[in-house]
């Protein structure tokens, strides 16, 4: 996997139209004063200040919730080798790690600021072969938020339904741009760290390139070559299992009873259904002793 620097990531998000929360980079030679900050971020009272380097460095200085008047002084203390990255400060409601390939994606969501509560169990959204799935815990977890009045605050929270839908919609809306970014970075999977910033929506913060190919959990399928029965009057094969694709109306339960008897006579033990496993047909088949499976 390839790490891309914070500064390069900001440039890529702007180039590919993925920027949410705006970011401006100020090198040592042009640290911003109040005039520049007011021009670049009109009406912004609080800022998120980060730093970036042209070489790989970790644990760089950063500060959240800085008032406009205090930004120049904080910037003046930075070593000359560091670039100053300024963003409006916006509370983070949830955080996302998105792994994207043109043929699918996987997104992990946690409530609050992920970097400050790394042991949270994420909700996982997977899109594969145009099918969405969600795996999540419904137990509240101790997430960390930043509130202007109390600073960093831990509270029990869940990933909400609207947050899952917002991520799905964000990927759908930005799909073409994500594919171009994917191609522009060499064609491997791309990993984006995003957070939902109040007032700005989902905003990419960091990026990784060349993720390994997408390998979602295998899809369980029915055995190949199943004989399909598409009418209650079809002749039945002598087989262990069949695919039954019929609809039986309530008033036709006599036909259903006759079909069940014929299934027994044909020695069929397992019935695959295209309908749900909780349909009236499925319930009747189970009550008659058949193993009922979903056809996928």
């Amino acid at each position: 996997m390839g790490n891309i620097s914070k500064l390069a990531a900001i440039g890529l998000f702007q180039e590919y139209g993925l920027e949410g929360l705006p970011a401006r980079v100020y090198p040592a030679s042009s640290r911003p004063g109040l005039t520049e900050l007011t021009r670049d971020f009109p009406g912004t009272p609080l800022f998120m200040l980060r730093t970036g380097s042209d070489v790989e460095e970790r644990n760089l200085p950063r500060k959240a919730g800085v008032a406009l008047a205090d930004v120049p002084a904080w910037a003046a203390e930075l070593p000359p080798r560091l670039h100053l990255v300024v963003q409006p400060y916006a509370s983070v409601t949830y955080s996302v790690e998105l792994a994207f390939w043109p043929n699918g994606y996987m997104a992990e969501l946690v409530p609050g600021i992920w970097e400050l509560s790394t042991d949270l169990q994420p909700a996982v959204v997977t899109m594969w072969q145009n099918a969405l799935s969600l795996s999540a815990t419904l137990a509240p977890q101790p997430a960390v938020f930043y509130l202007p009045d109390t600073g960093y605050t831990a509270m029990a929270a869940l990933v909400a339904d609207w947050q899952v839908v917002a991520v799905v919609n964000w990927v759908r809306h930005h799909y073409d741009r994500l594919v171009r970014l994917h191609d522009g970075l060499g064609g491997g999977g791309i990993g984006l760290k995003l957070h939902d910033a109040v007032g700005y929506g989902l905003s990419p913060q960091n990026i990784r390139a060349n993720l390994p190919p997408f390998t979602p959990e295998s899809i369980v399928s029915a055995p190949s070559g199943l004989a399909m029965v598409s009418s209650v009057s079809d002749s039945l094969p002598h087989a262990d299992a069949i695919l039954l694709d019929v609809s039986v109306a309530r008033e036709d339960h006599a036909e259903l009873a006759a079909l069940i008897a014929r299934l027994h006579q044909a020695g069929i033990g397992t019935v695959y259904l295209k309908s749900g496993l909780l349909s009236h047909l499925a319930i009747a088949l189970r009550e008659a002793g058949f193993t009922v499976r979903r056809y996928a």
């Binding site: 099918a131 969600l134 419904l138 609207w162 039986v248 309908s275 009747a284």
Partner: protein
């Protein structure tokens, strides 16, 4: 006899298991669409009384559509559900003449096999919920399995492929399908709370037919799970 479905305590021996359970579910505080119940004997002997009661009932509840459902003492039993074998007609226009015609032409002809000398057979005229989502949920051994169809109350029971499936074991949820169109976590929790409460009350694993609209879960039928998935 003619009676309100909710909130009441209708004995199954007179009204059948579907009506009796729904009235009991309603009395526990769960949302059940309002209904008017008439016994098989009354439907045969006093249709004019039913028409008169229906006129008043329609004025009180003003449903957009009405479902007419059969309720028998012989269905929804612990060992055998006879799922889908009693007759229901959905989407009836809410006027007395239409409802009486449906009762006489589409319900009563199929009722005789369910009748017995001891009663236990009735028909429910019930407000039909314009559901955003409807389906079936099983709660067995603490595990919730649910299948749902968008904009339908009977698509799942009729055998249509689900739009959404839910599996909630403990606090671990897996949802597949239209998870971007449905508040799956809220729905799964709501279903589990409802099914759990009904399980504690009735003391059997719950097979729930339900409808969902604007965050409210409506119970359409509650019966025992007769076979495991």
């Amino acid at each position: 006899m003619i009676a309100d479905l909710t909130p009441a305590a209708l004995p199954a021996a007179i009204w059948g298991n579907k009506a009796a359970r729904l009235s009991e579910v309603s009395s526990l505080g769960y949302a059940v669409p309002a209904g008017l119940c008439v016994t098989y004997a009354t439907a045969q002997q006093a249709p004019n009384s039913i028409a008169e009661a229906l006129a008043t009932w329609l004025g009180l509840y003003q449903p957009d559509l009405v479902a007419i459902r059969m309720s028998s003492i012989h269905e929804d039993q612990l060992a055998a559900s006879h799922a889908g074998q009693t007759t229901s007609v959905l989407g009836c226009r809410p006027d007395v003449a239409t409802l009486m015609t449906v009762l006489e032409d589409q319900i009563l002809p199929y009722a005789a096999p369910w009748a017995s000398r001891t009663g236990g057979l009735s028909f429910i005229f019930q407000c039909q919920i314009a559901a955003q989502l409807g389906g079936v949920a099983f709660l067995t051994d603490g595990r919730l399995t649910a299948e749902a169809k968008l904009a339908s109350t009977d698509g799942i029971t009729a055998g249509q492929a689900p739009d959404v499936t839910l599996d909630l074991s403990g606090t671990s949820l897996t949802a597949t399908g239209a998870v971007s169109a449905v508040p799956v976590a809220t729905l799964a929790q709501t279903l589990k709370i409802a099914c759990g409460g009904l399980r504690r009350h009735f003391k059997f694993d719950i097979d729930l037919e339900w409808a969902w609209r604007q965050g409210v879960l409506y119970t359409l039928q509650a019966r025992p799970v007769t076979t495991s998935l």
